[in-house]
């Protein structure tokens, strides 16, 4: 297993995702001899996991069952331990495409945070790309380093514990893309520009507040970036359900003549049905209304 390559069978040392049912999942590290408690009973790693196919149904000691899933950055995003607010797949997907990330891309990122975006980028730039990720918080930098190693992607990433606004990304002239998710991105624009390849590259800055966006756009223009564009994207989820709508009762039909004025339900005669079922997509009561503004730009030719 790795976060950047699929494998068929579960092996010791893998990070697997246990799926219990509707929106209920958690990650675990597969270890020979280990046991994991779930509400359906115990999972014994050696007998229930190791050597079995990913996607298998595993019956737990109490009789209930779970599915074991191969990790993906998207599943990781939904299950990782939060050390900071994280980016979710909707923003990540747009960032990936708008930064033109692909195998071989060299990317600079700050801050690393909880590594949600980092894992997604590593998946996209593997096997020949590299990620330089800067995190000014020491423990977070260490935790990220540890996770990258456990997830077998450490060969693709370099974690730096420093302040990107003061010390930059640690590299110059190599990046195809730079991503900023920091409180004062305008202070890092200059460093971003020098980290990027001379021939150009793409930049993205993610900020929750419009004031930050304004300052960042101004800084980008000052530094000669072009194609500056700010957008936001929101996810709308739908619940597919069968709903039952009752039919009104207008009284009995007049047996002497049919009255076209009173509409019956459209279509052939509906004798004594009191309700109609339709399958529909229902929007949830609330939805995430804002995550942050995404500002993209291209480094122009020097």
């Amino acid at each position: 297993m790795s976060f950047v390559e699929y494998s068929e069978l579960i092996q010791e040392g893998d990070v697997a995702i246990i799926f219990l049912g509707h929106d209920s999942m958690f990650p675990l590290m597969v270890q020979s001899g280990a046991q994991t408690q779930t509400r359906y009973g115990v999972i014994r790693h050696s007998t229930d996991l190791i050597g079995r196919r990913y996607g298998s149904k595993v019956t737990c000691s109490k009789g209930g069952w779970v599915y074991v899933l191969h990790p993906t950055p998207e599943l990781w995003t939904l299950n990782l331990p939060h050390r900071t607010q994280i980016l979710y797949a909707t923003d990540i997907a747009n960032i990936t495409m708008m930064l033109e990330l692909k195998p071989g891309s060299v990317v600079c990122e700050s801050g690393t945070g909880s590594g949600s975006l980092s894992h997604a980028m590593l998946r996209t730039i593997a096997p020949t790309g590299h990620l330089y990720t800067v995190e000014f918080h020491q423990q977070r930098a260490e935790k990220a380093t540890e996770e990258f190693r456990e997830h077998k992607v450490d060969h693709l990433v370099t974690v730096l514990n420093q302040d990107v606004c003061k010390d930059g990304f640690g590299v110059t002239g190599v990046a195809d893309a730079v991503f900023l998710d920091i409180p004062s991105p305008w202070e890092a624009v200059g460093h971003a520009k020098s980290a990027m390849k001379r021939q150009g590259g793409r930049l993205c800055s993610f900020s929750p507040c419009i004031e930050q966006v304004q300052r960042t756009c101004a800084a980008l223009a000052e530094h000669g970036f072009g194609e500056i564009c700010t957008l936001e994207v929101l996810l709308r989820l739908y619940d597919v359900r069968a709903v039952s709508l009752p039919l009104p009762d207008f009284g009995p039909d007049d047996p002497s003549r049919t009255d076209p004025g009173v509409p019956d339900r459209a279509g052939p005669s509906v004798p004594t049905n009191t309700a109609v079922t339709c399958r529909t997509a229902i929007a949830p009561r609330e939805m995430a209304g804002h995550t942050g503004y995404l500002t993209f730009a291209s480094k122009s030719l020097v």
Partner: protein, 447 residues
């Protein structure tokens, strides 16, 4: 040309034969660089010859005669010498007569060879109301005129981002109205990455296929399922992938899927038309006719041989694709077509391994609702999710920041999920649909 000497990575330099994208403002057009070939873009005709050897991202102006002139240095913007400006528009009357230059005047200026920037300057000087406008209004006016009269063309290297933007703006009907952010979601939810084996079924001119191939980077394999005669790949060509990418691309006709699933796909299916030798020619006795006869005989032989070779190639390709599919262990499925998604999804999912993602795009919601229900009934999938994304652009300017006035009404819908292996016998009913309890953190493991 300077760039060649500086040893810059080849990939950044425009070459003859390259597939590129022309950009002017927010209009894009995909073309291939072919010397001495006239190209039309935004009501202008020109040759791309002078672009060869320049860097991608370079900007050009169209000179008279149709040649491109590179703009090497960053032109200083019309100096923002704010001479005069007003406080508001209470006294500005729009009677359509404030511009003193007529259409003909402007044409004359163009003929005299004035550059776009200079024409804009002339318009500003000949506008009676310009100095009454507020600074913001003046900026807006200049921006508008620049957009119209400046003809700066940028030559870009194709990418999913650019081509998706282009198709959505120019020919959305060709891509089932798939908006670019929706495509982005598909690539991420589908976990498309180097080294995997992905099945793609699309009727989006090959844009989705190209996007998938870009994210695979030439590693792994992509099997494109196609309806009818052959796969459409017009947009895929526009990506300008290097030759070796095409070795990872396979195709398989939908009409043979049933046979493949049933195990009855015979390797000789494609070679059905027997390629016999040419009919024996009745050779005439005269020498001239004899030679003529022999010539035609040989010609037929060669043509038949060529046909045989092509058939053999086609058969080999079909075999190769079938071999990849047969294992029923694909790492993902991406569907984006005008066909009803239900049968497509239910059939093609059978080729996908367990614990792998799939993504289906549909311009409309109802067919996906049907898919969702059918999949729930059939089982074998979890994390089913019906979604769409809402996208909004912003104008960011000092004291003038606000969402852009016009917004996309819709970008289509996505149904996504993960496959699982349902075949193991269940040990009793279990409420898989109960609402999730408070989120479980990383579990403690007891060694």
């Amino acid at each position: 040309k300077p760039y060649r000497e500086t040893g810059i990575d080849e990939r950044f330099i425009i070459k003859d034969g390259d597939f590129v994208v022309l950009q002017r403002g927010d209009v894009y057009k995909a073309v291939q660089i072919q010397k001495k070939r006239k190209v039309i873009f935004e009501k202008q005709w020109f040759f791309l010859d002078n672009a060869v050897g320049e860097l991608y991202g370079s900007t050009f102006e169209v000179a008279s005669g149709g040649s491109l002139q590179p703009r090497k240095s960053k032109h200083p913007e019309i100096p923002a010498e704010v001479k005069e400006s007003g406080m508001d528009n209470r006294n500005i009357v729009d009677d359509g007569r404030s511009q003193k230059l007529t259409r003909d005047d402007i044409e004359t200026l163009k003929e005299q060879g004035l550059k776009g920037q200079e024409i804009v300057q002339q318009l500003v000087e000949n506008s009676t109301t310009f100095r009454d406008k507020t600074e913001f209004a003046q900026e807006k006016y200049i921006k508008k005129k620049k957009k119209k009269y400046e003809n700066i063309i940028t030559i870009l290297k194709p990418s999913t981002r650019i081509l998706a933007l282009m198709y959505h703006g120019r020919e959305p009907g060709k891509i089932c109205h798939l908006r670019y952010d929706t495509l982005a979601q598909m690539l991420t939810l589908g976990n498309i990455h180097a080294g995997s084996k992905v099945i793609v079924f699309e009727t989006c001119a090959g844009l989705v296929l190209g996007a998938v191939m870009e994210r695979m980077g030439g590693y792994g394999s992509v099997i494109q399922m196609y309806p009818g005669g052959g796969p459409t790949r017009a947009a895929t060509d526009s990506f300008g992938f290097p030759e070796h990418f095409h070795r990872t691309l396979h195709e398989f006709p939908l009409c043979k899927v049933k046979a493949l699933l049933a195990g009855t796909l015979s390797p000789d299916e494609e070679g059905k038309d027997s390629v016999d030798g040419p009919a024996a020619e009745h050779l005439d006795t005269t020498a001239g006719q004899l030679i003529d006869g022999i010539f035609h005989f040989i010609l037929h032989l060669l043509q038949a041989q060529e046909k045989k070779v092509k058939m053999e190639e086609k058969r080999k390709k079909l075999s190769a694709a079938a071999a990849l599919l047969q294992g029923r262990n694909a790492d993902g499925l991406v569907v984006a077509s005008r066909f009803h998604p239900c049968p497509v999804l239910l059939t093609l999912l059978r080729f996908v391994a367990p614990s792998r993602p799939f993504v289906v795009y549909c311009q409309y919601r109802e067919p996906l609702i049907e898919c969702y229900s059918k999949l729930r009934e059939q089982g074998g999938v979890i994390n089913l999710r019906l979604s769409e994304t809402w996208l909004r652009h912003y104008q960011v300017l000092p004291n003038r920041t606000h969402p852009v006035l016009l917004m996309s009404g819709g970008g289509g819908y996505i149904l996504s999920g993960t496959t699982i292996d349902d075949s193991a016998s269940a040990s009793g009913p279990q409420k898989a649909e109960e609402p999730a309890p408070k989120r479980i953190k990383l579990q403690e493991t007891v060694a």
